[in-house]
């Protein structure tokens, strides 16, 4: 069958559904059937699944002309999704095509939710089309004879690649692909990504910069001109609108008309805790929503989540309070309106959420931005501009993640073993390890086999063994079992299942929260008031309670930083505060009372001014700096500056930062004039000072946590299996100290520092920010009390510490925390 005939099959299928294929879909079919690899840039809900399922199926028809009478069993294509929640949806669309075209193909899902029975059935006969997650794919690589499973696989699609890129799961994917390229000789590799700043690089990372696949690939862009309207919810009484906070409940009443005027509304919150609170509070004020409003976040039981998703499609819900758990995948046609509560911290994410609404052709997407504190109105205004100019952030891919590589090598050693001379060139082809040196490679192999770089006689280290033919293999069943449990690079705090005493599963909560509860305490979770009874194994038992409570579990989550472009827009927006009202946006106009308050004590900086504020409260001496450069840069700058100050005088301070500025809080005042006279904002020796500053605070130590778990150094036990491995548990913190004292040249220990630099601190942007400050006039304001600008920063509880004072001296000024 030639390509035109194949296209005819697809076209007529679309016609039967009363659809017409988009240009990007046809383009993708063409490229795929022409044997190209590629990256498809298309938003959620645009028909991207059909853009790739179809050519996969058509390719099968082409290579198996008698497909209706003769079917060869076995895996033919893999679809990778970052969220297991999406797998059902993808399966349905694949099954629809297969059924309508009367193909004898089977479609299967394999994720962490798949039962052991189903998994072993799949081992015997793999489905023709397999939908799975990056972790489950790694698990397949850890099973014996995996090469036979993949042998005839002709296509792999990595969906939502932008979500994986810039994470270690992305690195895991790069490694799996590097292996599959060898194992499956005719593999066609495709990625699907929403719009991000570095799409070209995304393709390079997916396929490998020096690979043949990359040379032979295309980037297909869906040009769907969707109109997005951003509306800010502007508080009517600005005078009483809070200066800080992250909940935004003050504007709850403004949300009600939005919900009432629209068929289905999604309310996006930034954290699961915030989600719980909003759900609770809306119901409290508007009990009439009971039954037509629901909640959706990652810790709610899967059944409940699926029910909510189905109910959105059936149009039986008018509002859903949710978190990023509804960001991806699943297409919800009935959603008319989206409300974003609090800053989304990213244009890409904001666009993605906006795109959740108005799915019908020709309809516009409407998103309401609801600020949680006054300063966020500036963000709202800047966000509108960013959406207009589509200023989307980059996702920075990882380089040299030794932890993921060690995990991967162990995976291969667990299954069939590996030969270094075969694997090394594969790994060198990936983006992440393109610069891996022979010496580093040797280090990693030594680490796996002898657990160090030199052999000691009394040592009993055991992990990977080298067999007589040079094959690296794990022969110990215990090690293999522990490794399989550990596969996966998303690291969270240990989570505890929350159940009713009779057994109903409600969801999971971080152990940290449960550990603070005493029996009888009532907390809100999954929209219910629950009384805590006891912890048994890795389960928390609860019963329903009618008591009111304000205890809401918190989940640690990453905080994102503004991109350079977004920070620039934010500054431009802020500078308009000094213009006449006719040149200001609605949001800035509304902020006039806050700006007035700010000017009472301090100033609203102009483009050529750099503002520093100092004041004292009962918390201590506050020193606040406002570069308006985004969280990441502020984190780095605060670390750098506090380190440089500590060289002038012994000091202990705690650091806090947000997207506007940063604070050094100390128990003694810092002489700002001294800081300026000594030119502490200089770019000279920036890198080495920054490096040294990291030794005196905890950033790298925190990064090491993930590294220790991923590389298999710290064993977390099997929480959901209830198996505790107490005798093998240690904290990554202890391990960090041991490395620091005994093996500072350990690559994993060093990786913690490199990652802090490259991924968190954004060295390049820091330099540019310092250069900008050098050209500005410094405005140091000694204030009597906190200013509106400073409020969100000084109330931030998540802080870094830096100290070069003698501990004994500090302790003399401290008191113990007593039981009340």
């Amino acid at each position: 069958m030639d390509r035109n005939e194949l296209f005819e099959i697809a076209n007529s299928w679309f016609l039967e559904q009363d659809w017409t294929p988009h240009a990007f879909q046809k383009e993708t079919w063409n490229a795929f059937l022409g044997g190209k690899h590629g990256l498809l840039n298309a938003p959620t809900g645009s028909g991207k699944t059909y853009a790739l399922w179809f050519p996969i199926v058509l390719h099968y028809i082409r290579t198996h002309p008698e497909y209706k009478s003769r079917h060869t069993k076995g895996l033919k294509a893999i679809w990778i999704t970052p969220l297991r929640a999406l797998s059902q949806e993808i399966k349905q669309s694949a099954e629809r095509i297969v059924a309508d075209l009367e193909l004898p193909m089977t479609v299967g899902i394999r994720t962490g939710d798949t039962s052991a029975k189903e998994r072993s059935r799949q081992k015997n006969t793999m489905p023709d089309l397999l939908i799975t997650t990056p972790e489950s794919l790694q698990l397949l690589l850890s099973s014996k004879g995996y090469d036979k499973i993949f042998k005839n696989c002709s296509a792999i699609v990595v969906d939502e690649w932008h979500e994986l890129l810039g994470t270690k799961r992305g690195v895991q994917m790069e490694l799996a692909l590097s292996r599959l390229k060898t194992v499956c000789p005719n593999l066609c590799i495709w990625g699907i990504s929403a719009t991000i700043g570095n799409l070209e690089q995304a393709r390079q990372v997916l396929l490998g910069p020096t690979s043949k696949a990359y040379q032979d690939s295309v980037l297909v862009k869906a040009k769907l001109n969707k109109k997005i309207t951003v509306k800010s919810v502007i508080p009517k009484e600005m005078e009483t609108f809070p200066w800080r906070g992250h909940l935004g409940l003050r504007l709850l009443h403004e949300v009600v008309p939005i919900i009432n005027n629209s068929k289905t509304t999604l309310l996006f919150t930034n954290t699961r805790g915030q989600c719980e609170i909003w759900f609770q509070k809306i119901l409290e004020k508007h009990p009439e929503y009971a039954g037509i409003m629901a909640m959706h976040h990652g810790s709610v039981a899967k059944e409940t989540r699926l029910w909510v998703e189905q109910a959105i499609r059936n149009e039986t819900l008018s509002a859903v309070v949710c978190t990023s758990s509804l960001d991806l995948g699943v297409d919800f046609a009935p959603v008319e309106t989206v409300v974003q509560i609090g800053g989304p911290k990213g244009v890409a994410r904001f666009l993605q959420r906006a795109g959740r609404s108005g799915h019908q052709p020709g309809k516009e997407s409407v998103i309401h931005f609801l600020p949680t504190h006054a300063m966020e109105l500036i963000e709202a205004s800047a966000m509108q501009k960013a959406v207009r100019n589509a200023e989307v952030e980059d996702r920075i891919p990882y380089l040299n993640s030794f932890d993921v590589l060690l995990q991967y090598l162990t995976t291969l050693a667990v299954s069939d073993g590996f030969y270094p001379e075969e694997i090394f060139p594969e790994i060198k082809q990936t983006f992440c390890y393109q610069a891996l040196s022979e010496a580093q490679w040797q280090w990693l192999l030594n680490f796996l086999v002898i657990g160090s770089q030199s052999l000691k006689t009394y040592d009993e280290y055991k992990k990977v063994e080298v067999e007589s033919d040079g094959r690296f293999k794990v022969n110990n069943r215990g090690i293999a079992m522990r490794h399989r449990f550990q596969i996966g690079t998303i690291v969270g705090d240990a989570s505890i299942a929350v159940r009713y005493q009779k057994g109903g599963y409600i969801g999971s909560i971080e152990e940290y929260f449960i550990s603070k509860l005493t029996p009888g305490d009532v907390f809100t979770f999954a929209g219910r008031n629950l009384e805590f009874i006891r912890v048994k194994g890795m389960q928390a038992h609860v019963r329903n309670s009618t008591k009111r409570t304000n205890k809401v579990p918190s989940w640690m989550g990453g905080r994102l930083s503004f991109s350079a472009q977004m920070s620039e827009l934010l500054r431009q927006e802020l500078y308009t505060a000094e213009l006449e009202p006719s040149k200001q946006s609605e949001e800035i106009k509304a902020l006039a009372p806050m700006f007035a308050k700010q000017r009472e004590e301090s100033i609203v900086p102009k483009p050529n001014e750099f503002l520093i504020e100092t004041f004292k409260t009962r918390d201590g001496y506050h020193h606040i700096f406002y570069p308006f450069e985004g969280r990441g840069v502020h984190e780095a700058m605060s670390s750098l500056l506090s380190y440089r100050i500590s060289l002038l005088t012994p000091i202990t301070c705690s650091l806090a930062y947000n997207d506007y500025g940063f604070e050094l809080l100390s128990d003694k005042p810092i002489d700002i004039q001294n800081v300026l006279d000594n030119n502490l904002f200089t770019t000279a020796y920036m890198l080495s000072d920054l490096q040294k500053s990291l030794n005196s605070n905890e950033m790298a130590r925190r990064k090491f946590r993930d590294i220790a778990v991923i590389s298999g150094m710290v064993f977390t036990g099997y929480p959901d299996k209830g198996i505790k491995m107490k005798h093998l548990q240690s904290s990554s913190q202890l391990l960090f100290d041991v490395f620091k004292d005994f093996e500072p040249d350990n690559l994993l220990y060093q990786q913690a520092y490199t990652e802090t630099f490259e991924h968190q601190l954004e060295e390049g942007r820091l330099r540019m920010a310092l250069e900008r400050i050098a050209e500005q006039h410094i405005q140091w304001k000694q204030c009597e009390k906190p200013t509106p600008f400073s409020f969100p920063i000084i109330t931030d509880r998540l802080r870094e510490k830096l100290s070069n004072e003698k501990l004994a001296d500090r302790i003399k000024r401290m008191t113990k925390i007593l039981t009340k």
């Binding site: 160090s452 009993e460 992990k463 301070c653 202890l734 302790i811």
Partner: protein, 210 residues
């Protein structure tokens, strides 16, 4: 600076490594050394740097040289897990250490008593000396002051400027003193003291009373 405290008319001197000398009896109390932990981890495939195993013996040597006690009493969890090659290092250490060594067994001490006895270490479930009770797990018994370990106690301190530190400590309540974990590569557990409790923290090579 040497810090000591008087309990039931007996004098106890602190050491920043986490030991306590009972002056009148010349008995050094040490708890939760967790020897063999590093090797245990390595045996199970976690490459903890092996020189860390040596560190415990260096610390033990230092504290023994400092006090030169007649007796050393380990308050449990001397060994982290089953027998491994760190036992050899321990045997060597016992052989060259002139003090008499006894062990109050803890929950981690699963190595056979005969093994300890073969190097001249006597094992007890608990020890009553005068009106002092030496155990691994904290215990309350009328008429006795209890020395114990097991908890790996630490406390949090706070100060002006939102300063906070967490430090390992000797935790003394009315009838009890919980010793900090002596070993390298052992964690700790934060306790919240009551008003009447006395806390002695270990801070950069010093013991300080809070």
């Amino acid at each position: 600076m040497v810090l000591n405290t008087t309990i039931q008319k007996q004098t106890f001197t602190f050491h920043p490594h986490g030991g306590l000398l009972w002056e009148e009896k010349s008995m050094l109390l040490i708890s939760d050394v967790h020897l063999g932990k590093v090797s245990h981890f390595r045996k199970f495939g976690a490459a903890v740097p092996s020189p860390a195993a040596q560190k415990n013996f260096i610390l033990l040597d230092e504290i023994v040289t400092h006090f030169q006690p007649f007796q050393i009493c380990f308050l449990g969890d001397l060994f982290h897990a089953a027998l491994n090659k760190e036992w050899q290092l321990f045997e060597n250490w016992v052989a060259k250490t002139p003090s008499e060594i006894i062990l109050v067994a803890g929950n981690h001490d699963i190595i056979a008593p005969e093994k300890f006895e073969s190097v001249g270490i006597q094992i007890f479930k608990e020890l009553c000396i005068d009106d002092f009770l030496l155990t691994h797990h904290p215990e309350e018994r009328t008429g006795f002051f209890n020395f114990c370990g097991h908890i790996h106690p630490a406390i949090r301190l706070q100060g002006f400027g939102r300063q906070r530190v967490k430090l390992p400590c000797f935790f003394k309540s009315k009838h009890q003193m919980i010793l900090p974990a002596f070993g390298e590569f052992t964690g700790n557990h934060t306790l919240t003291p009551k008003k009447e409790d006395e806390i002695f923290v270990i801070a950069e090579g010093e013991v300080l009373k809070i």
